[in-house]
Symmetry: C2
């Protein structure tokens, strides 16, 4: 009979997980002992919010990831990171150490406890798709499988709490399979497909919108095949960026309502059949609700359901739907007018560095092997003008939008996919939150390139009509010096040429390099300028 | 009619709050506009976990504090800090921006949202004593008063969510007073007092244990008067340390079960009447449950209840109980044998610096004006051997024990009580979590002395039977260099003499100074040595 924690970690390994991110603590000591015995590699981070971000990024790249933390001080310090994984559909497994079952019965005031022993489990129910306490050796195996199946089916985080006296418990394996967490019906699939095919064939100007779940379900190649079969224009959203290759001749750019490219907007909003694959419609993706989509003419397929016009098919599997649609012999190709492919609207800046110049250099620098991890704020919005390549990995918390994701994220993503050249784009505000994590990059021998938009302010808040508010200002810091103190390289960048040189030098460095790009607080990306105006309008109501 | 948010901040000001800690965000922008208009000073921190710790420390010193954060990414990133405030009885008010009421009705996928618009409120119900959403101008004033009254009565954090379209709403003031959050009865008070006085007078060897709520209710002087009237030995716990002056002749030291001083243990456990004021009995305070207290002979008074032997008085006010007990004419003085006053068991170390040498120098350096803020791990346990002075402020999260408290804590505490010389004692692990916050100290013109126990490991985990586990190791860092990169001074300390000099130089610095004390991973405080052995035994058992 296997031991509980070891069995849990071996099951994760069997699902492709190779690393466990976290920080040990007294209630997680025996769990870490089990980790050390397991085939997973332990990655000790410096702070739980970062451990959560790293494990989330790892899950987004690799399909599944795990964070192992201690009770209370550990798990409750990771709630925000897990909430982001939930909101953005990342299948992250949270494993928390906890007081033993016997201790709970006998002792009332154990340290790290808040209200009751169940407080943490209740908090995690709010931010995960499944939350379980492994308090019974007879059901532990079934619970582990249920949790992992839920994470993989809905691409959401799950929570597994391991009381410390259960870590080494001998557990039984389940003699039968439980019903699946999602019910699917062949009849529903066929009906949804038939309706979709009919609508596409009948349409005069259909458009395909490819979004984040295409990436999560690893359906990128299938969707390229579908687009080429249909011969219709393809767009994406900020969150789904790079799920469809941005150099593909059918690709027209990012749809973002009034805040985005007008050509894309016109095609999407004027379409008589908009097929949205794996999308979730958010205010940031949809340009602060300046999107004008016609539900009648929309087909929205996600892991939860297929919605066609005003009716829904809850019992259809997303992957099956996309795959069978692509294989269908009935789909007719369209012959839409050729549309100019997406081109970044940025230009080189010969003198002092500007956001546009930075985007120009970055576009010139990235290639098929790039792994780009973006923080939020202008580090996110600017990406509207970055053209990723086929195969580029692009990660950004574009919906939930938690600052501080990029640096721990680039660590997690680099471990998940070590053959790419990793770049993180982060504001000074985001760097201050989790930049200390660079000591972990150093420890692991990773060499990401960190581009810091150093403009001494929270630029996106400033752009929302708060140019004169003192609370959007940040102290002016020397991030290149901080980088050196943390064991890496640091370069101050004041011109476009310096950036170009620094990027090429950083490419060959074997430790991390921080490019400390000095920007004016008022110099923001074209996309943030548009968004800021829309935000300010929303604020005014 | 006042405007909602301004009224909230003015009410906090009227209760003595002068600073608001936090980070602005789009859902909190109008809240920050109101803050700027209010008499509160805005303190923008770098990361929400730190903002929570700073506001918590401020509340512990000043009696009430406030953190103002944005929705989702802000508030959910502060759950752990607020959980600690709950667990350790700190009256912290959390104010969170949020989507407007109209937006919630009209829009489904607003950014920063997790499951539903109420997810965050539900999470905060688990870690606060009161959680309210100010969604109605007719009840907003009553809710604000209810929340603050709850915080002040039970010394627990409370949560106030302000939808952004309510920030400037005109609100009505409540025409009547609601019943108090705690019901008290004069009869219960008199009966509890009479029983207590009788028990104390009858006892042969009574002992007074003074704990954290004496500090929270600002009853320190009253309790000194009570002790002098009774003429009995007084002890405290780690969490309550410095609530009773440690140089007082009646003071015998910290009670910590088998892990603590044997003389104190003998007196406490052998007492025939143990009066515990404002205590909560935790496993760390009680030496991993090696305490042997006799419930029959114990009187435990807290803000929740007075427990005498096996019966309880829920309806007694803690402050009234302590004050009336002290004023009582019926109390008889005892004439216990003189007991040697508490003396730290540490000695100077002439050569390379050791933990014992560090404690010796720190004992020599601190005085009546010191404000000492400790992180957890050995930074906490070592304090068993630090003798605070009358008037010393001593802060430490000794029960919930979240790492990373000291540096943001020393910022919050310094603003709450600017006339003290602030010192933070922190491990390298704790520094890595929140040390970046030193840029905020610099920005504010604060000059705390930061003593880093730099031993390249999580020393307390290591001491729990994990000397050879690789996951308890930390990278070896140069914290003095990091300090300089963050804008302060940094000094490497390798001998006791260097520490003495560095402390005196740091005292006169006008920016923060980091003393980077290089210790061997195996060099731990006497208290941690004892505790580590007990922890390891608990783990096995």
């Amino acid at each position: 009979m296997p031991k509980l924690a070891l069995h849990l970690f071996e099951t994760l390994y069997a699902h492709g997980v190779r690393h466990a991110f976290g920080i040990p603590g007294d209630f997680a000591l025996s769990l870490y002992d089990a980790l050390e015995e397991s085939p997973l590699e332990i990655v000790v981070m410096t702070h739980e919010p970062s451990a959560g971000f790293a494990a989330d990024a790892y899950s987004r790249v690799r399909g599944l990831g795990v964070a192992v933390v201690t009770y209370g001080v550990g798990a409750l310090n990771m709630v925000n990171s897990v909430a982001q994984a939930y909101a953005e559909k990342s299948p992250l497994v949270v494993v928390s150490g906890a007081p033993g079952i016997r201790e709970r019965r006998e002792r009332d005031l154990l340290h790290h406890k808040v209200k009751t022993f169940e407080t943490q489990w209740r908090v995690y129910q709010e931010v995960t798709a499944y939350a379980t306490i492994l308090d019974n050796p007879l059901t532990a195996d079934a619970e582990i499988h249920r949790a992992i199946e839920t994470a993989l089916t809905f691409k959401r985080p799950v929570y597994i709490e391991v009381p410390r006296d259960m870590v080494d418990a001998n557990i039984d394996e389940l003699p039968y399979e439980r019903p699946p967490v999602k019910k699917v019906s062949r009849g529903a699939l066929l009906e949804a497909l038939s309706e979709t095919i009919q609508a596409l064939n009948k349409a005069q100007c259909p458009v395909l919108l490819v979004d984040v779940e295409v990436h999560r379900f690893n359906l990128q190649e299938t969707v390229v095949e579908l687009a080429e079969k249909l011969q219709i224009p393809v767009c994406s959203t900020m969150l789904g960026k790079s799920a469809f290759p941005e150099h593909h001749p059918l690709y027209i750019g990012i749809y973002n309502g009034e805040a985005g490219d007008p050509t894309v907007r016109e095609l999407v909003e004027g379409s008589d059949c908009l097929l949205m694959l794996g999308a979730f419609l958010t205010d940031i993706n949809l340009g602060m609700f300046t999107a004008h989509l016609n539900a009648e003419k929309t087909i929205l397929a996600t892991s939860e359901k297929i919605a066609i016009g005003y009716h829904e098919y809850p019992n259809v599997d997303f992957r099956e739907f996309v795959e069978e649609l692509t294989r269908s012999q009935e789909l007719k190709p369209h012959h839409t007018e050729p549309i100019p492919t997406m081109r970044p609207r940025v230009e080189p800046s010969p003198g002092p560095i500007t956001m546009k110049g930075l985007l120009y250099e970055l576009n010139a620098f990235i290639n098929d092997d790039t792994l780009l991890v973006n923080d939020v704020g202008d580090a996110l919005f600017a990406c509207d003008d970055i053209q990723t390549h086929e195969g580029t990995s692009f990660l950004c918390p574009a919906y939930y939008a938690s600052m501080g994701f990029a640096i721990p994220g680039v660590i997690g993503a680099s471990l998940a996919d070590p053959f790419r050249r990793a770049i993180a784009l982060v504001g000074d505000g985001g760097f201050l939150m989790t930049g200390m994590e660079l000591v972990t990059a150093k420890k692991l021998g990773l060499n990401p390139i960190i581009i810091v938009l150093n403009n001494s302010c929270y630029a996106s808040l400033r752009a929302m009509g708060h140019e004169n508010a003192s609370f959007v200002n940040l102290p002016t810091l020397n991030f290149s010096e901080i980088a050196r103190a943390l064991g890496g390289k640091g370069v101050v960048v004041e011109t476009g040429l310096q950036l170009r040189k620094a990027l090429h030098q950083a490419r060959d460095s074997d430790v991390f390099t921080v490019l400390d790009v000095r920007l004016s607080p008022s110099d923001i990306s074209p996309a943030l300028k548009r968004l800021g105006e829309l935000f300010a309008r929303t604020l005014k109501g």
